[in-house]
Subunit: 181 residues, 2 copies
Amino acid sequence: MEQNLQDTLSFLTRTPAVLNALLRDQPETWTLRNEGESTWNPFNVVGHLIHAERKDWIPRAKIILQFGESRTFEPFDREGNLRECEGKSLAELLDEFARVRSQNLDELRAMNLRPEDLARRGSHPSLGVVTLSALLATWAVHDLTHLHQISRIMAHQYREAVGPWSEYLGVLKCSGHSSSS
Amino acid sequence: MEQNLQDTLSFLTRTPAVLNALLRDQPETWTLRNEGESTWNPFNVVGHLIHAERKDWIPRAKIILQFGESRTFEPFDREGNLRECEGKSLAELLDEFARVRSQNLDELRAMNLRPEDLARRGSHPSLGVVTLSALLATWAVHDLTHLHQISRIMAHQYREAVGPWSEYLGVLKCSGHSSSS
């Protein structure tokens, strides 16, 4: 199943507004609490999304279009969010995420990608051969992975408060699916 | 760990805007596709949230305040969303959800709940004795359960499209945690 590029764009434009509605001007319970030692809080997740905007999606799309499989992508630094977050408020990070996302979507639209471009191949340092189509679909699902993660982190803060209802609340049964999400 | 009622209110006010940003005027890929037979799509989830606004949170809070443990809550109909959805567009459901949520939060604020009110007990048809505090905390985590679910349903539509990246995308490893979420 291929992606539909218009659907992908339509989704990607919304994430900054979703995170604004969910997190901006919220009490620390919902923004600065995490799921335990060495886990991220929602503030850290927004920093990670900004870092991915700078280093992952569009830079890798350009490598595919310019060099194909002959130039392997640089590995993505999953701790790069720490530098993005340093000294910033959540409001500043949300503004920054909206700005870099909007710029990147402008760049994506300006590429005027045709179906044959989407089939072009690149070289991932761990996954091997990947297509531009899969890279752009991953951009959207990466947002969803982190929305899924943020909803779980927020729910965790009320794990005790819900009392016996916890058995009906699916999000409290989700233990996460990787080190960062 | 108890909830902080102001934090709960601050969270609950946001969910209509979160769902608007995520779903309104989006292509059917993101709103009308589900995870397979007998599963919900995001449109169905919004119908379920409306049904819970009408039948669950405030009606049960009133039963606790008026009758305590002497009157058991009516069981919640998890298929009640089907009636809410019938003949409606997603835009209509999102408008309706925002309206009923706002009315319910006005009712909650008007109750002027004190700490001793939050400790009052009611009788759940399956869970037994519950507190008003736990009911209100559950209201918030129920929203988060369904935001977690919607992010998973949306991601599922690109399960194949992301190619080998699927192993890095936590949301694609989440298989859900109950019949409805």
